[in-house]
């Protein structure tokens, strides 16, 4: 009983600390989101003054037109590819940061990794546009170095979208993996090697399994927003950059069909949640 009292009084004293966060979550996320749920079941936006009614038509639209499903699959593939590239690029970087570099050089490299976070997203994307277009920085630089003439024009292509998204999201992978890698005691690596394991075997059997939580967290942080992304596909992908996210954006800013946009968003949310739910037991076992 003493314990129960203590825990209750603990909760009460924690309330002032919790309240701001919950208040903020309620106002900033829960309210707009419930408004969107409401919109997604309407025929018209009530703001325009036109008459409206409840309907399931917006959700039905997704299933009646194969375009939406095709785009959703394309977006899921984009999310998967970007996540894989982020692992390929981010994990080794995190490993070097956590286990090889020490002191000042670690701080310097860390700063470089986090730098994309501090620059404006649009600026980031437009600078990629400068680099990737024909006659752009990459094209000019490569032609200056190489003895033969090549044409690099990645602008408005699928690879350009991947490059832009990977650049934006790779810091998440570096940070989450860095945290788990750093927590791995160096003596575990030494123990593995003293038992006759090569560096690669130690990596496969000790380091990667122990850093799995970081990989999973990073993958979830990257996959979910990339599937719904629209800015990078639109600017770097051009005509080829039509994805599920850009279609949702169109409903809100171009076509002003908010109910359809909202319905498409919630379908995406449901799909992502299902994917995470299905993947989580597998990932938990791996971790």
């Amino acid at each position: 009983m003493a314990a129960a009292t203590a825990s209750r009084s603990g909760l009460r004293s924690a309330l002032p600390l919790l309240a701001p966060a919950y208040l903020w979550l309620t106002v900033a996320i829960f309210l707009p989101l419930s408004a969107m749920v409401f919109f997604s079941f309407m025929t018209e936006l009530p703001l325009s003054g036109r008459p409206w009614a409840f309907t399931l038509g917006n959700y039905a639209a997704f299933f009646s037109q194969s375009l939406y499903l095709t785009l959703l699959l394309a977006s899921l593939r984009l999310g998967l590819e970007v996540t894989l590239w982020c692992i390929v690029i981010g994990y080794p970087a995190a490993y070097v940061l956590a286990k090889v570099l020490k002191g000042r050089s670690r701080e310097a490299i860390f700063l470089l990794v986090i730098l994309p976070f501090w620059s404006n997203g649009l600026v980031r994307i437009f600078s990629w546009a400068m680099v990737l277009r024909e006659g752009g920085i990459l094209d000019t630089a490569l032609n200056a170095v190489l003895p033969f003439k090549i044409n690099i024009d990645l602008m408005y292509s699928y690879p350009a979208v991947i490059i832009g998204l990977v650049h934006s999201y790779v810091p998440y992978m570096v940070l989450t993996c860095y945290l788990t890698l750093q927590a791995i005691d160096d003596s575990l690596i030494e123990a593995g090697r003293s038992l006759g394991a090569s560096r690669l075997q130690v990596l496969k059997r000790v380091i990667i399994p122990l850093s799995m939580p970081g990989l999973v967290a990073g993958a979830a942080l990257i996959f979910v927003p990339v599937v719904g992304s629209f800015m990078e596909p639109r600017i770097l992908g051009g005509r080829t950059g039509t994805f599920y996210g850009t279609v949702i954006e169109d409903q809100f800013v171009a076509v002003f069909n908010w109910p359809l946009g909202a319905a498409l968003s919630f379908i995406l949310l449901a799909v992502v949640l299902v994917i995470l739910a299905v993947a989580s037991p597998v990932l938990r076992r791996a971790a």
Partner: protein, 354 residues
Amino acid sequence: MAGVQVSDVSRSFGAHKALDDVSIDFADGGFYALLGPSGSGKTTLLRQIAGFDFPDSGRITIGGESVERVPVEKRRIGMVFQNYALFPNMSVADNVAFGLSVRGEVKAVIATEVQRALDLVQLGKLGGRRPHQLSGGQRQRVALARAIVTKPRVLLLDEPLGALDKALRVDMQIELKRIQREIGITTIFVTHDQEEALTMSDRIGILRDGRLVQEGPPEEIYDRPKTEFAATFLGDANIFRGDTTGNGIRLADGTAIAAGAGATLAAGGKASCAVRPERIRIATDAGAPDGNANMLKGQVSKRIFAGNNSTYFVERGGQTLKVIVQNTGMERLAEGQDVVLRWSPESTVLIAAG
């Protein structure tokens, strides 16, 4: 199984000389303790033998094969770490199986060997547990089983008992010694605990500031330390400093102390004498003159009773001497009492100054 030879090994980290021209011969099947205060280079030396770090100069051989440039995974050593370093993502059995499985052993062989190793450390039934479900002593045993299951040539132990409480440590000392005898493996053991070094090892190497101070069997180092450091670091010792007389020293106040053991030094220079506290007899009167025994007068300043013995602190000419007396029920001296200390020259070790 193999012996290990370390010859003229030096290793510096920046300006710091972690190992300075160290040579030790670890004979096949022996149990060695590397003893020294922190920063003495004992762990650095162990890491050179293991192959986690390479010497700047010098040679290391295992079983006669030169290994200075051989990476750790090719040296066929077994190592037990201070913090156990068990893989938290694997069961106890998988931890023990790791070394065999990276070698590509057959599953059936692995299972038998793992069970045998776990039985040896008396954890035969706990193979399915995870490391975090074990006590400190059990983890230590798993680490040991994991290190020996691959039949390494040398077993290296880096302060393996440091994290255990005292009672458990004594148990593990006996256990470790039993297992070492059973498989007869050359074992090198790093510790800063002098008692552990004395009770467990066949030979002890004392290190200080990256240099090997003295090396030999425990009895030899304890009875005939070659330096003041060895005398005071391994066990307790009363140190007298003075001028050499050839077979002893003369203190500043003219008292002569005869030494029957230790270095032979020409008269004239500076030297020290070391006497173990338990070798000194304490009495309230001079009694009958006792041949050539060393004799000093002093006053008891403090007595610490420890059950089976008492430690007396005796003030004498500005120096505090320690005397340990077994509790025979005879002598109980009060603080402040004038006493006479007596000990034989054979119990006195002459040590060159420096």
